[in-house]
């Protein structure tokens, strides 16, 4: 009996040992799956991405079929999203526009986050770098955006176009422009968190056991500043999608015949009382994208928050 008792008492311990090693990301995923809205957001976002990636393979209507007899028609079995004033199919345009918009939104935010995280971390951790990097941040914050855009476009449009072709060249330019103009708030956020975290006991403990700076930054501090960064990033995606449309409007973005959600919405705005469907679909898709990414961000923040780990 005694032997059995010991066996029973040891069992949980052995089970504990068999569990796979826990990492930050597996923990986070475990945590994330419990967040219903975040899962719904992730599902919606993945659906949208699949919709724009697979759409053109399934749906063959061309985006530039001009047919004035069909102009400004509402949704019908033939044109599920209706048509614009030139009678072009809005579904095809929304699918192709989504590719550009989602790609621009995500890529430019990734760029902004990477820049912001790097600069913020360096400024927050290394005292000597703090002042120069933060003055650089102030410099970027104080730049007047429109003249800067004009200069960037003037300097780089033709060379990027020549190097990567008209479409990829302009894509890189726009992603670069949006990324470069949006990293500053992230950098400030990250620096502030670093300043407070690097005084914490666990960082001192890490330093005491001889961890190098790079390991302290990557392993110990960054996971703790990720949550505000992710929130900023998710908000940034929606902003980037809309900034892209502003650029197109100024003639600095994609050529006018490249549909993007922002551009479709912009084209539709004057027709909103005559053909509301035209503005509705791209608007709704932007709304869905931004909302779903926000919920994913929300879930990620909770999942990555060490204090919430159960």
């Amino acid at each position: 009996m005694a032997a059995t008792d010991v066996e029973i008492a040891r069992l949980p311990a052995s089970v504990e040992l068999k569990r796979p090693a826990r990492s930050l990301w597996s923990d986070a995923w475990h945590q994330f799956r419990r967040h219903r809205l975040a899962m719904a957001g992730l599902f919606t976002f993945v659906t949208l991405v699949v919709f724009v990636l697979v759409g053109p393979l399934v749906y063959h209507t061309r985006i530039d079929n001009i047919d004035f007899t069909m102009s400004l028609k509402g949704p019908s079995p033939e044109h599920l999203f209706g048509t614009d004033d030139l009678g072009r199919d809005m579904l095809a345009r929304a699918i192709l526009g989504g590719r550009v918009s989602i790609a621009v939104g995500i890529t430019s935010v990734l760029l902004a986050i990477t820049l912001g995280l790097t600069i913020g971390a360096l400024a927050g951790y290394f005292v000597k770098l703090d002042s120069p990097l933060m003055r650089l941040t102030d410099l970027f914050l104080s730049l007047p955006i429109l003249p800067l855009l004009l200069v960037i476009v003037y300097l780089f449009r033709d060379s990027l176009r020549a190097a990567f072709g008209p479409e990829l060249g302009i894509f890189l330019m726009i992603v670069g422009v949006i990324g470069i103009l949006n990293w500053m708030p992230v950098a400030r956020l990250v620096r502030a968190s670093f300043l407070s975290l690097k005084q914490k006991e666990f960082v001192e403990a890490a330093r005491a056991v001889g961890d190098p700076d790079s390991r302290i930054i990557m392993k110990h501090i960054i996971p703790n500043v990720l949550s505000p960064v992710l929130v900023a990033a998710t908000i940034g995606v929606g902003g980037a999608i809309l900034t892209e449309s502003t650029l197109s409007f100024l003639g600095l973005g994609f050529p006018s015949d490249t549909p993007t959600w922002g551009r479709l919405l912009f084209d539709a705005k004057d027709y909103i009382d005559i053909a509301p469907h035209w503005a509705f679909f791209p608007g709704f898709l932007i709304f869905l994208t931004v909302l779903s990414i926000n919920y994913v961000g929300d879930g990620l923040r909770d999942a990555l928050d060490p204090r919430k780990t159960s």
């Binding site: 530039d64 001009i66 004035f68 030139l86 003037y154 033709d158 015949d257 004057d270 005559i274």
Partner: protein
């Protein structure tokens, strides 16, 4: 965008000549439209006239205007000697008592001098008398290069403007000028008060307080002016016509955009006059048709939305030689140049653009001629060419010349692809036009890349993205002429070819160089017989159209404004400021 364009192209347009150029037939002065209709009006009987310009005026001295908005806002206060009426002929509703002609002795037979008789007893709004000295002074400001006025073109080739006596002004040209009204008529030459501007000559002109609050002879005086926002005027008690103006005050509001201006006049009825409703027909037509508050006011002038074909090579690889007049476009200006150009014109669907985007006569009709608006000059030889639209025939034409379709659906010959960059301004109407053109041109085997540039950049001579540099294969915009087309057409002569040497200030953006065309323009400079001039205008026009230097897309209305149903006596002209007869407006 026409308006920025107008300014940018002032070089071409302002100094144009008049048909009145003849030594044999005296120029006819038109009757005063609206004058008879306004007999019943009484000074100050109306309240406030609300005018909306979606571009806001920033200065009220028309000589320093940066656009039509400034010049038009100044027209309520300052006036020229005479206006150009709806029939493209001078109209004595300004400071001149009558229009000088050869018949009445006002114009010398050698077309060198014009003697203007001024109206008697006209006073400035500060109560001092208006005299010929003020006119001569205004000319001296325009002729002085240091003042850097935007109206200086009108003073070019003018030898002197002299006050012969208090009520007589003599304009003398350096050489016989068929365009005898070049100086004094229309938007070029609003007369300023010598007393107010005397201390601000030369470079100091830009600092003159009168630029913001000019003293004028016009029907209204500036009450308050917020630059870039709103001008309020009250009526000028000193105005020469005791029955005018009808309105006690005017609010000249600026800002917004064309669609919201259209809503303000058609839907909400907030304003009495909304300027330049450059809105797609799909929006404008239902708004104007169903409006109980306002109606559309349009009139044709010489405005043509046209596509220019580049005769120089715009390849970036040329470096310093890029787009210079001595380079040759790889397919528009080679051995097959005319075939490729003609195929492009054949694949251009003018009718659909005019119908669907300009509303089939609402704000434009299918274009064909570049010399248009004056019936005597309108060519008929081009009608057949313009009426054709057939992308298959265009494709076949290229096929026959050896331009074969590649696997990428683009025609090529000898390694040269028919790949086109097509630039224009950022403007919904133009982007729609681009979409239609691209579709059809690609059906004929061209590859088309669209580019749109903000209007203020596009119309800057130093901008590499601009119309003047024309570093693209085709470009599209609107331009217009004065009633005499000589100087306008001069913009396609060889020596006007734009390039680095002239800092892209010359008017021949196409870099079209054709001695036969140059000869016609030279003849126009000396030809005085109106019938022969008309023939020469038609010949010049036919060369530009049939040699496919330009493809006119749409002949546009010069005035496209909305007015309240209650507003009366508004007679639009296509050849002068929309405010040329604002004293006649009433309710």
């Amino acid at each position: 965008m026409t308006n920025q364009w107008r300014r940018a192209a002032a070089v071409v347009a302002v100094a144009a000549m008049t048909l009145a150029a003849c030594g044999t037939t005296p120029p006819a002065a038109s009757s005063t439209p609206g004058a008879s209709a306004t007999v019943a009006s009484k000074r100050g009987a109306g309240d406030d006239l609300k005018i909306l310009y979606w571009q806001a005026p920033t200065i009220l001295n028309a000589h320093l205007a940066t656009g039509t908005k400034d010049s038009d806002a100044a027209r309520l206060v300052t006036e020229p000697l005479a206006s150009y009426g709806p029939d493209a002929k001078p109209l004595a509703n300004g400071l001149a008592a009558e229009i000088p002609t050869v018949a009445n002795g006002g114009v010398s037979a050698d077309l060198l001098t014009v003697t203007w008789k001024l109206k008697q007893g006209v006073k400035w709004s500060d109560g001092t008398p208006f005299t010929a000295d003020d006119v001569a002074f205004t000319f001296s400001l325009m002729a002085d290069p240091k003042t850097a006025v935007s109206t200086s073109d009108a003073a070019e080739g003018v030898k002197s403007v002299v006050a012969k006596d208090a009520n007589t002004v003599v304009v003398t040209y350096a050489a016989a000028n068929p365009n005898i009204y070049q100086w004094g008529v229309g938007t070029c030459c609003y007369i300023l008060q010598k007393k107010q501007f005397e201390a601000y000559q030369g470079e100091k002109l830009k600092d003159a307080p009168g630029n913001l609050k000019p003293i004028g002879t016009g029907p209204y005086v500036v009450d308050s002016f917020k630059s870039g926002d709103v001008v309020t005027y009250k009526m000028n008690d000193q105005f020469r016509d005791p029955n005018k103006p009808y309105f006690k005050s005017v609010t000249f509001k600026g800002g917004g955009d064309a669609p919201s201006a259209a809503r303000a006049v058609f839907q909400t009825g907030d304003v009495d006059y909304a300027w330049n409703l450059q809105v797609e027909a799909g929006i404008l037509k239902p708004m104007a048709d169903t409006s109980s508050k306002g109606k559309l006011l349009t009139v044709y002038g010489s405005s043509v939305e046209r596509i220019l074909l580049n005769f120089a090579d715009p390849s970036a690889s040329l470096g310093d030689k890029r787009g210079e007049p001595d380079t040759k476009h790889p397919f528009f200006n080679g051995a097959d140049g005319k075939i490729v150009r003609t195929a492009l014109a054949l694949a251009t669907d003018r009718k659909t653009v005019a119908q669907q985007i300009y509303g089939d006569g609402l704000s434009g009709k299918p274009g064909c001629n570049i010399v248009t608006g004056v019936p005597d000059y309108e060519s008929t030889a081009t009608a057949d060419f313009c009426s054709k639209f057939d992308t298959a025939a265009a494709g076949k034409m290229l096929d026959d010349a050896g331009w074969k379709l590649g696997s990428d659906n683009v025609r090529a010959k000898g390694g040269i692809k028919l790949s086109i960059v097509y630039q224009t301004t950022v403007n919904a109407v133009r982007q729609k036009t681009q979409d239609i053109m691209k579709k059809n041109w690609e059906a004929a085997g061209f590859k088309v890349e669209l580019k749109s540039v903000p209007a203020d950049v596009f119309f800057t001579n130093t901008s590499p993205d601009g119309a003047n540099h024309f570093w693209a294969d085709v470009e599209m915009f609107t331009n217009n002429s004065d009633p005499d087309f000589t100087n306008y057409l001069n913009g396609w002569t060889s020596k006007q070819a734009t390039g680095k040497a002239n800092n892209w200030n010359s008017a021949n953006y196409n870099r079209y160089q054709n001695p036969a065309f140059d000869t016609i323009i030279d003849s126009l400079r000396s030809e005085k017989d109106p019938a022969k001039r008309a023939t020469l205008f038609k010949q010049a026009n036919d060369i530009l159209i049939l040699d496919v230097v330009i493809i006119p897309v749409v002949t546009r209305t010069q005035v496209t404004s909305g007015i309240a149903n209650t507003l009366k006596n508004v007679v639009p002209t296509g050849w002068d400021s929309e405010m040329y007869a604002v004293q006649d407006f009433s309710k």
